[in-house]
């Protein structure tokens, strides 16, 4: 049977992790169909049809799908699920909100946040903030799965020409209502997909001091991350949080500044290719995962860092 991936988008564009989810889903079965549900989202359906690994796109349009309320979305996914062996989405706030509602309606025990596909029914997933990896086998006939996008490469965005089938939706439920979304727009790369991430922790001492980080991020074309403590203290908004209860990032370079390295933070960044820690406490646990540790006061180190970067006249992309 075929597998169904639920596309994540904003009605105009696909969210980038959908490409990673395509790779994961196609490892389960090559007959991959993608559901694009939204409002005025034809451009999204078209973009999905161009992904070469996608065999078919199901497009559903209705005003009540515009803001992805799970009360409306889950009944739709259940309706579409009949012909599929696996229902898949990314394990980000979109998929985490939706998929368990679908699973329960289908009486399926969901497998969350997989990092590896062993076979169509067996997967590896991190537990205990990534301090253990569990290999699990789903014995339900149909499977509901969320995938950890950073554990799979992004699929090529072009080369395909899947058919787009328009299908009917389900009725709107009136038990929930979308009011507003406060999105922090920036020209920087997205945290989840950036090649370089520089994160600040409680050691930054104030939101204003984050400008030391911003300057370096600008120079390196890096995304900006933060520890939960920095977000809790109001130095920076919640969408920057890296960790067990924030985002998982796997950049080529992760620079942790004034972050102690609690296991909940490590859960979100310790798979990064190269890790740098800047911390004045030589005993901080962050040094145990750092490839390069610099024991220094960040208020001295960051300006020097920027200066050294400015000296390098060629910064490769």
């Amino acid at each position: 049977m075929s597998v169904l991936l639920i596309a994540e988008h904003n009605n105009k564009e696909l969210r980038p992790f959908t490409f990673n989810a395509v790779t994961a889903a196609s490892k389960i079965d090559s007959d991959l169909h993608v559901l694009v549900a939204g409002h005025n989202c034809a451009d999204v359906a078209k973009a999905v049809s161009e992904i070469s690994l996608v065999k078919k796109v199901l497009q559903v349009e209705a005003e009540h799908y515009e803001n992805f309320l799970p009360e409306n979305f889950a009944t739709l996914v259940v309706k579409v699920s009949k012909n599929y062996s696996h229902i898949i989405s990314s394990a980000n706030t979109f998929g985490k909100n939706l998929m368990p509602r679908v699973s329960a309606l289908l009486n399926i025990s969901q497998v969350s946040d997989i990092i590896k596909v062993i076979s169509p029914d067996t997967f590896v997933r991190p537990i205990y903030a990534g301090n253990a990896f569990a290999t699990v086998k789903s014995t339900d006939e149909k499977k509901c799965i969320t995938i950890r996008p950073t554990s799979f490469d992004a699929a090529p965005t072009s080369g395909g020409s899947a058919t787009i089938e328009k299908i009917d939706g389900t009725e709107a439920s009136n038990i929930s209502k979308f009011i507003k979304r406060e999105e922090v727009k920036s020209d920087r790369p997205e945290l989840g997909t950036a090649r370089i991430v520089i994160s600040g922790g409680r050691g930054m001492q104030s939101g204003d001091n984050f400008k030391l980080i911003t300057a370096i991020a600008d120079k390196l074309k890096a995304a900006i991350g933060a520890s939960r403590a920095a977000v809790d203290a109001g130095y920076i908004t919640n969408d920057h949080q890296v960790g067990q209860t924030g985002k998982v990032v796997v950049p080529d370079l992760y620079i942790a500044v004034g972050i102690s390295g609690a296991i909940q933070h490590l859960a979100g960044m310790k798979e990064s290719k190269v890790i740098v820690a800047i911390n004045k406490d030589g005993e901080a646990p962050i040094f145990s995962v750092a490839d390069y540790g610099l024991e220094a006061d960040l208020f001295e180190a960051l300006p020097q860092f920027l200066e050294e970067l400015n000296k390098l006249n060629t910064i490769q992309k």
Binding site: N97, P100, K137, Y292, G293
Partner: protein
């Protein structure tokens, strides 16, 4: 208004867990256990709502082995009125927990169910959404702010893009983020008083819920270890290493 709060007993978040050598799970013997952290926020929020006079009763429920009762006892010590302990052994999957909670909701008829957004042991992030589906109630997940307006709840949710505000019609499920509030500590007199508050005990099997796991745990392993790094003497050396050795800038 009545609020039911689901609290799970987990290995304390400060403990560095150890994987069993035979690959069957995590070492739990002689390990400090606590309430799953966001469940403390769920209790705190319910108690705060009761203190404003908008709720009349807060009931804490846990599902798990005999000792899981401690978690309910702690909820009673910070202001819950009474407790329910549904006895079940071993790993109880989110879908099973949700089905048990559904039975309890049918019986208790709460107006709101508060839970944590994620259990820090299984990291599933499922149970609240599943319960909402089973009850056909709306769900407000990852809540960092809750406002009660008559028959609806206005909830600010933490999402990847930033913050989202939704309204859900009561009865509703809310799953709580750690930023929702600052959980209080239990005072000694309140801990003493909590000992007198009632905890009803039930067996999962008596509720007619099939507790068998649908997900088989084949093995549990330690994640691959990072090879140890070095300390650099100064910023110049750091930048030189990043450029010439790691080749990442």
């Amino acid at each position: 208004m009545k609020i039911l709060v689901a609290v799970k007993r987990v290995i304390d978040y400060n403990v560095q867990i150890r994987v069993k050598e035979d690959g069957t799970g995590i070492v739990t013997e002689n390990v400090k256990m606590s309430t799953n952290p966001p469940d403390d926020n769920a209790i705190e929020e319910a108690v705060k709502i009761k203190e404003t006079g908008k709720a009349t009763e807060v009931v804490a429920i846990t599902i798990g082995e005999e000792k899981a009762q401690e978690t309910v006892r702690k909820a009673l010590a910070v202001g819950a009125d009474r407790g329910i302990h549904v006895k079940a052994e071993g790993i109880v999957e989110p879908l099973v927990v949700a089905k048990i909670l559904q039975k309890i909701v049918d019986k208790e008829k709460p107006d709101l169910v508060f839970m944590g957004k994620q259990a820090i042991d299984d990291d599933c992030n499922q149970t609240g959404q599943m319960l909402a589906a089973l009850l056909n109630w709306p769900q407000a997940t990852f809540a960092s702010k809750i406002g009660i307006k008559d028959k609806v709840l206005e909830v600010v949710r933490e999402v990847d893009e930033g913050l989202e505000t939704i309204e859900v019609v009561i009865p509703a499920i809310v799953t709580c983020d750690l930023r929702l509030n600052e959980p209080r500590y239990a005072s000694l007199p309140n801990i003493m008083k909590a000992k007198k508050k009632p905890i009803e005990q039930l067996n999962a099997s008596d509720l007619g819920v099939d507790t068998k796991s649908r997900i088989e745990q084949i093995k549990v392993e330690e994640p691959p270890k990072r090879k140890s790094g070095i300390k650099v003497a100064n910023v110049a050396e750091l930048v030189q290493k990043l450029k010439n050795e790691a080749k990442v800038i």
